[in-house]
Subunit: 446 residues, 2 copies
């Protein structure tokens, strides 16, 4: 799991060698620790004329203790450049982006943040506005590739009427919680979201179920949700044994041994959840997943069936039964785990990519239905994450996966977990149907 | 413009060297020549139980002179594997894909074709079906990366009620016209489309305007639309001079010198089109585009303004005025030219990527409005295309762009032109709002 090259590149000697030879230069990413301030410097906040978000954003940042500058000063280093582009109604007005970003492109601190706020093209007043708003995506993705030094760059579309629901997302994106999330397009829907009493414990009082929790990304999800205040049920197959118990203990939660592909699994899970004192569950994270890689020419049917069964059919069945029984509470959160392979496809992974593209389909098709029940459903799509699984890859593939992204390094399980915790926050009530990649802005895509 | 490596790799000695050293192996792609048969071997056609397309597809392929096999035979080489997946209503039924593709994964001829037909997830009967249909994307993209040897792999979503409108797309995808199009998701809407009298001259009697036509991709578009029967107006800036005249002459069309960024350009173009005997135009291809690359930190405002102006604002103005004056005929076709950079973003191209993402926005936001006028609007998004522009790239970047795709080579201007000609076909009447990449399934994406 160790990225020895990154450790070397960040050593005294390594810095010199990397610079001289023009080698990949993976910065040390700023990751969140409880108690950290949101950002470690002032935030420059700009807006195109007529925008509807910068006022609200300025207020919430200031009340979060952030120093907000509304006009830039030469020589100042900013922790973030935030631009409200909702006032842009026409391609000619895109010039406001250039005017804001150009003078301060070199004024960001390391691991800085670029956030552009826009109106979802589908909610724009007409084609001219929709076109200009859609073009923001080209800007933010290019900036993510250009700025480097751990800078992340995102486009956040806020539906008209969603102005009061942006805080959880801004906090996530500004903080070290989103260290490995870049080049993403996030949609916040209309409506309001209640702020948690304590932004460092946003999940206080919530009960969370995490599948595949015994190791790797699942263990990090369990630990992170617990850190954020949730009571965690860590679920894994009976064979996971001690590892699962360890995770549950560390999270001060419960371990639940269950093979989700068993015919009666959903029924047993429903029974378990309805028997508890909570009578239901607030957060469901479908993390359990397997790979059985082979080219399709060499694949046997069991590899196909098991991957589809664990990664896709099991979450479908669990969702269907829990929802039918009313066991996901109002205000509930369901999160799926997709993958870059489900977006881009991958050689040797027809089964896995099919299952993970299906997870995206599950999220997108279920979101409108669950909205009526005040439940959100979203997915993360991890790129190259440092786990026991990726440590076993052949070195050529592993190094390519690690370096071919804007961070020149792999992500950590915690990065996936933080993104899930953001979806799970009470503040994310109007975020649904999103698929957010946790990939350091990998070059790979579709 | 020459890909010397590909020429070498396809030489007698080169084949041996490439195999021994495991070097990239760019196959010679099968490209269309008038009179070519659709495919050079039998097509294996399968279906999941309950599908609504394979009957129609079998009939149209047979009437196009294709030998269709409905069950595979060991040892036979197939030119294409076509699978109707519309009957798949649940993730467990995805097994039908494995059962169809696994035994014949090695039975495709070089430059073979994989086509999976599905139901658009948004038109599915419920979340289970939508999820399964969405997962088809993971399969087709993985197959594209896995099969190699010039195989292309696509997912074609056919809306319920669009069964009679699939022929132009199947012909495009099976033929050498789509040599460099792979890993794409195409949506065919409900409704019917009239077959052209002659599939080798589908644009007979149509008047087509091509901007930026003097060279490169624009010249290929003009030539290809003319080859397919259209009368072509080749437009470029006055400075293009002889090159433009040459293109127009070769296409037996007209040259029109006009700077589209001039304040009165749209007005002058409208005047030109309304004065002609045709009183309007049937096909408008917004190909004119420029790059002015710099990182945003080093960019001056004129680079920003000119790129947005030429690539995005000019097409918007032309569309708006031509549509307002009724100068795009009913049955008309508008095609924009986006770019991989507009999808993935690119270092040094904040201006270009913004403009090209905008072209995608233009297409997506205008399509529903134009549907009422029986006009379609779509975009191509080229990847690495061998042109004078890419020939000037530094060798490292150029070779990366050329090889990092499923074809291990760059595309040709004709590949972009063929895709535009398919959009322009009378048979593509229900295809609108699509963005199709012409990139050999580049690894780069979003």
């Amino acid at each position: 799991m160790a990225d020895r090259y990154a450790n070397f590149a960040n050593s005294g000697l390594g810095r010199t060698v990397v610079k001289r030879l023009g080698l990949p230069d993976p910065p040390r990413l700023r990751r969140y620790r409880p108690g950290d301030p949101l950002v470690s410097g002032p935030v420059l906040l700009g807006a195109a004329p007529g925008g509807r978000l910068s006022g609200e954003v300025g207020k919430l940042l200031e009340s979060a203790g952030v120093t907000v500058a509304e006009s830039g000063a030469a020589g100042t280093k900013y922790a973030a450049l935030v631009f409200d582009a909702t006032g842009i109604g026409d391609s000619e007005q895109l010039r406001a982006l250039f005017d804001f970003f150009q003078p301060y492109a070199r004024s960001l601190t390391g691991c800085g943040r670029v956030i552009v706020l826009g109106t979802p093209p589908e909610a724009a007043a007409g084609p001219r506005e929709a076109t200009a708003q859609r073009s923001l995506e080209g800007l933010t993705r290019s900036i993510g590739k250009e700025f480097g030094r751990g800078t992340t760059s995102q486009l956040v579309y806020v539906a008209p009427g969603g102005e009061q629901a942006v805080e959880s997302t801004l906090r996530f994106l500004l903080s070290g919680r989103s260290a490995y999330v870049s080049g993403q397009v996030i949609r916040i829907g209309a409506g309001s979201a209640s702020a948690p009493a304590d932004w460092d414990k946003p999940l206080d009082g919530k009960l969370a179920l995490v599948t595949g929790a015994a190791r790797g990304i699942g263990a990090a999800i369990a630990a992170t949700l617990a850190r954020d205040g949730a009571e965690v049920i860590a679920l894994d197959v009976p064979g996971a044994g001690d590892a699962l118990a360890d995770v549950a203990n560390k999270a001060r939660g419960r371990a639940l041994q269950l093979d989700l592909t068993a015919a009666d699994a959903a029924e047993r899970l429903a029974g378990y959840l309805s028997a508890g004192p909570h009578a239901g569950v607030d957060i469901v994270v479908h993390n359990a997943g397997i790979t059985r890689d082979k080219t399709i020419a060499r694949m046997d049917a069991s590899r196909w069936d098991s991957v589809i069964g664990v990664n896709l059919t099991a979450p479908e069945r669990v969702n269907d039964l829990l929802l039918e029984r009313g066991l996901v509470t109002p205000g509930g959160r369901i999160v799926g785990v997709a993958s870059i392979a489900g977006i881009a496809g991958n050689r040797g992974q027809t089964n896995y990519a099919t299952s993970k593209a299906g997870v995206i389909g599950l999220v997108q098709s279920t979101a409108p239905i669950l909205a009526a029940k005040d439940i959100t459903i979203n997915a993360v799509a991890p790129g190259f994450i440092e786990t026991a699984m990726t440590a076993k890859m052949p070195i050529g593939l592993r190094e390519a996966g690690r370096r071919l992204n804007s961070m020149s390094q792999g992500g950590l399980p915690i990065d996936v977990a933080e993104t899930i915790a953001w979806f799970a926050s009470p503040g994310s009530a109007t975020i649904t149907g999103n698929v957010v990649r946790v990939c350091g802005q990998s070059l790979l895509g579709a």
